[in-house]
């Protein structure tokens, strides 16, 4: 989709609303419903997909009026940015649209948490990516390994990025990032930056001939997009390493089949073939991890685990076993727990053994 088309879509939204206004009709904007009630798990693609329920955001609905105005303000700002052929961060956009409403003490937007979801609304309703709206988020993910890429004309060797790795940009679409050369055999996606640094220091990616990526917690869209493309374009297997707790498992599930909120992007940022390498509570027995480094489950953890037992994507037997085991033993583990067995235990013993034995959770 080129810029003209994006601008056309934005103007189309404006013209539709204007037409309502001119015919003295309550103006409304149709939006796909981005909620649990309107998503489904597509068995064929194994992705969370957006259903076709739409909601109306209308001016004369008192609960919508403010959001209605905000939606148009964000759309107008995007058009302005594209017109000027610049791109901007979502934080910049927030400041660009934030001002005091004349005659009141109220701002058009009070916090960035108000403008961010509006951007997603516009993406979903116009079927346009944030990047196509010339918006970008903060960089969050890092990659290291034998991969050469072209980033807007610059050639970058991810094997020569020293101790910090290459920072994955917000926009990781093929027109910006192109894969040039890859000798790696698989991708290890790590939840935690500290563990990623351990592996980078130990030259794990060199020894194992892989790419190591961290999302620093829940990976940003750019990072998920890179993982998706590495699998799709280079056929690399994706292995995911997180803490053994409900939050870690949730990070895995989002990377694998997408999220409710961004379900309209699942095709691009979900990687259904990703596999879970660890950590699991079952590993405690298998690897003889001392019990004193386990952490007791909180009530919140327990509640979350019970919920996850019911999710379609956690229905495979292996996951049911793991979740039930977690409930049974009543504890969780952090990746750092493996250090109890020695600082290089994770890179020299735990990961190689799991990969060689193909010991994954689906």
């Amino acid at each position: 989709m080129n810029e003209k088309e994006v601008i056309g879509k934005l103007s189309g939204l404006g013209n539709k609303v204007l037409k309502d206004i001119k015919s003295v009709k309550d103006p409304d904007i149709q939006l796909p419903v981005r909620a649990l009630s309107n998503i489904y798990f597509d068995e064929k693609s194994k992705l969370i997909k957006l259903g076709d329920k739409t909601s109306h955001r209308s001016y004369m609905n008192i609960a919508h009026t403010r959001k209605f105005m905000q939606t148009l303000l964000v759309a107008a700002e995007c058009k302005k940015i594209i017109d000027q052929n610049v791109s901007t961060s979502i934080r910049d956009l927030y400041y660009a649209v934030k001002h005091t409403i004349p005659g009141t003490k109220e701002n058009t937007f009070e916090e960035q948490s108000e403008s961010d979801p509006i951007i997603e609304d516009i993406e979903a309703t116009l079927n346009t990516l944030r990047e196509q709206l010339h918006l970008q988020a903060d960089r969050k993910g890092y990659i290291a390994g034998s991969l050469v890429i072209n980033d807007t004309g610059d050639e970058i060797d991810c094997g020569k990025m020293g101790s910090s790795g290459w920072a994955i940009p917000s926009n990781a679409e093929p027109d910006v990032i192109k894969f040039k050369k890859c000798d790696a055999e698989y991708v290890l996606m790590v939840e935690k930056d500290a563990v990623w640094q351990r592996l980078n220091q130990d030259k794990f990616w060199q020894k194992q001939n892989c790419l190591i990526i961290t999302g620093k917690g829940q990976p940003a869209r750019g990072t998920r997009r890179i993982v998706n493309r590495l699998h799709k374009e280079l056929n690399l297997p994706i292995y995911v390493l997180t803490d053994a707790d409900p939050w870690g498992y949730y990070i895995y599930s989002v990377l694998k089949q997408g999220s409710i909120n961004l379900s309209f992007l699942s095709d691009r940022i979900g990687t259904p073939k990703a596999k879970f390498i660890g950590l699991t509570t079952m590993d405690v027995e298998k690897f003889g991890i001392p019990k004193n480094v386990t952490i007791r489950l909180t009530e919140g953890d327990k509640k979350r685990t019970v919920e996850m037992l019911n999710y379609v994507w956690f229905k495979p037997k292996e996951w049911q076993d793991e979740l039930k085991n977690m409930m049974k033993v009543g504890y969780k583990l952090e990746l750092e727990a493996l250090s109890a067995k020695g600082i290089k235990y994770i890179s020299e013993k735990y990961l190689p053994e799991k990969i060689n034995n193909k010991e994954f959770l689906p």
Binding site: S11, G14, P27, Y59, M60, I62, K79, I101, T108
Partner: protein, 535 residues
């Protein structure tokens, strides 16, 4: 020791010489605080009060719409000349010196009918106070409207309690009706909460049929008449047995013309039939044919006891002259210019055999800036001793929070709470008539009336809040129109102002329907308040 005691001992005969009978005037001289002359500020107020009360009583009794003129003029340091003039019926010559010159003289003490003054100590007290503080005599002009004006100058002989006439003239030719009194007294004029001006303002509220003009040392203040009819005329009644104590009974027995106890009971009191009278005598063990004059003290005590055991009908209530809701609201409206006013006139009831009636008005907002309570008895404002008063206690006893008003003993809101007690006998806590005694029945009646008004006020206020909430919603639609238009201008290129106008037109068009929905929703949420849930 013994020698000393002999020297100091006084014989009974010697002491009796000291026990001179003192006149009421002498009593006043020594106990002026009991009558409202505690200090120079209060003295001015008391004089105005006595004069205006008399003027209002005189005009009202003659069924004349009152026009009252008051002037306070400083003629020397802390010395004031006070003039009070009414358009009443005037006073005939034979009565003049008695009314103004003899304490405890008056028609009001011996009859049971609602009036402002009660003990007859009032205006003559002012005459006495004048001569005690400045030595000046009191000047009276009065005419019954036949072209003759009496001009009298007088003092009171404090030893004999008799008037002393200094000048007595008749002026011919001037056609007018009414009375004017001029008094020169020591005093201090102030305009604070318990002042002449506040008293006149409250008087104007509780007597909205009166025109009151006040030339104060700081300029003229006018309280204009708001209604041109008087409250209904109160009827005189005989006392009711339930309110009679031994002392009064003794006096009445001596004064009666009845020849038997039976006759005495049935003719001197209201609502006593032959059967009830017989019952009382039987229970007291008295022969009902005996002469009232021959009855002994112990028998009187028995009789008063027996009365309590006999069921008597309530006294008639036509002796009361309530203000009515119309006058309460007219009075509050004209002087306070409130945003909202409500009132209630409770049905008459009885405490200890005395009929009384409570009326309450609540005025809210407008020129009222803070909460205050106006206490009135027989249309006379009570300014002092609010802490001891049944009205204050009843106000403090209302749970104002229940009616959506914050505040503990008194609502924390711009309200004036007006409480009026009408009775043939208002039970004041002291001679200066400043607080109503706390009889349970009286407090209960006041509380019921207050709750009724508070409920009506709370309905009004919740209506306002509802209207405000709804108006707030409309403002939401309007305030986002401009921003929406700016955005649409960017997206479509259409003119901002035109888009904004078009949006506001939609708001205008759809508002009626939305407003109706909001009102219905609101009613459902709050539940419409029910009337008549007195507790």
């Amino acid at each position: 020791m013994t020698e000393e005691s002999v020297v100091n001992e006084k014989s009974a005969e010697h002491m009796a010489k000291d026990h001179r009978e003192i006149s009421i005037s002498q009593f006043f001289e020594k106990n002026r605080h009991l009558l409202g002359y505690d200090n120079k500020i209060k003295a001015l107020l008391t004089i105005i009060k006595e004069g205006v009360d008399n003027a209002l009583d005189a005009t009202e009794e003659a069924r004349i719409l009152p026009d009252i003129y008051i002037k306070i003029e400083e003629i020397d340091k802390e010395t004031y000349r006070i003039v009070i003039r009414d358009n009443g019926p005037g006073i005939i010559r034979a009565q003049i010196s008695k009314i103004f010159g003899k304490l405890l003289y008056g028609s009001k003490f011996h009859r049971l009918r609602q009036s402002r003054g009660q003990q007859g100590i009032g205006i003559s007290g002012a005459v006495l106070y004048a001569q005690l503080t400045t030595g000046e005599s009191t000047k009276i002009l009065t005419s019954t409207g036949k072209g003759k004006t009496h001009k009298i100058e007088m003092k009171i002989d404090v030893k004999t309690n008799e008037p002393k006439i200094l000048k007595d003239e008749v002026i011919d030719g001037k056609e007018w009706k009414g009375t004017q009194i001029t008094i020169v007294v020591e005093g201090i004029y102030r305009e604070h909460k318990q002042s002449v001006i506040e008293y006149l303002k409250q008087t104007a509220i509780s007597n909205p049929f009166a025109n009151i003009t006040f030339d104060s040392p700081n300029g003229r203040v006018e309280f204009k008449r708001a209604v041109d009819h008087l409250p209904k005329e109160p009827k005189e009644i005989k006392p009711h047995l339930y309110g009679i104590e031994v002392g009064i009974m003794t006096r009445m027995l001596q004064e009666t013309k009845g020849r038997s106890i039976l006759g005495f009971l049935t003719t001197e009191f209201s609502r006593v039939g032959k059967k009830s009278a017989e019952d009382i005598c039987k229970k007291a063990g008295i022969d009902d044919k005996i002469s009232p004059k021959k009855i002994e003290h112990s028998q009187i005590v028995e009789m008063v006891k027996a009365i309590k055991e006999v069921k008597l009908s309530r006294p008639p209530t036509d002796c009361l002259s309530p203000l009515t809701q119309e006058l309460v609201e007219a009075g509050l409206s004209k002087e306070l210019n409130p945003e909202f006013v409500t009132s209630i006139s409770r049905p008459p009831t009885v405490y200890r055999g005395w009929p009384f009636q409570i009326e309450v008005g609540i005025a809210y907002g407008g020129s009222i800036k803070e909460a205050s309570v106006m206490r009135l008895a027989n249309r006379v404002p009570l300014l002092y001793q609010s802490g001891d008063c049944a009205i204050s206690k009843a106000v403090a006893g209302v749970d104002w929070k229940r009616y959506g008003l914050s505040g503990d003993k008194i609502p924390d809101a711009p309200v004036t709470i007006f409480v009026h007690m009408s009775s043939v006998w208002v039970p004041f806590t002291s001679e200066s008539k400043e607080a109503i005694a706390s009889y349970t029945t009286i407090i209960k009646e006041i509380k019921l009336a207050l709750q009724d008004c508070a409920r009506k006020l709370s309905i009004y206020l919740s209506g306002i809040r509802k209207a405000e909430r709804i108006a707030e919603k409309r403002r939401i639609y309007e305030k986002y129109a401009h921003e929406t238009a700016v955005a649409l201008n960017e997206l479509t290129g259409d003119e901002k102002e035109k888009i904004e106008k078009a949006i506001l037109k939609i708001v205008e068009e759809k508002w009626g329907e939305i407003e109706q929905e909001l009102i219905e929703e609101n009613d459902k949420e709050t539940g419409v308040e029910k009337e008549g849930e007195n507790k």
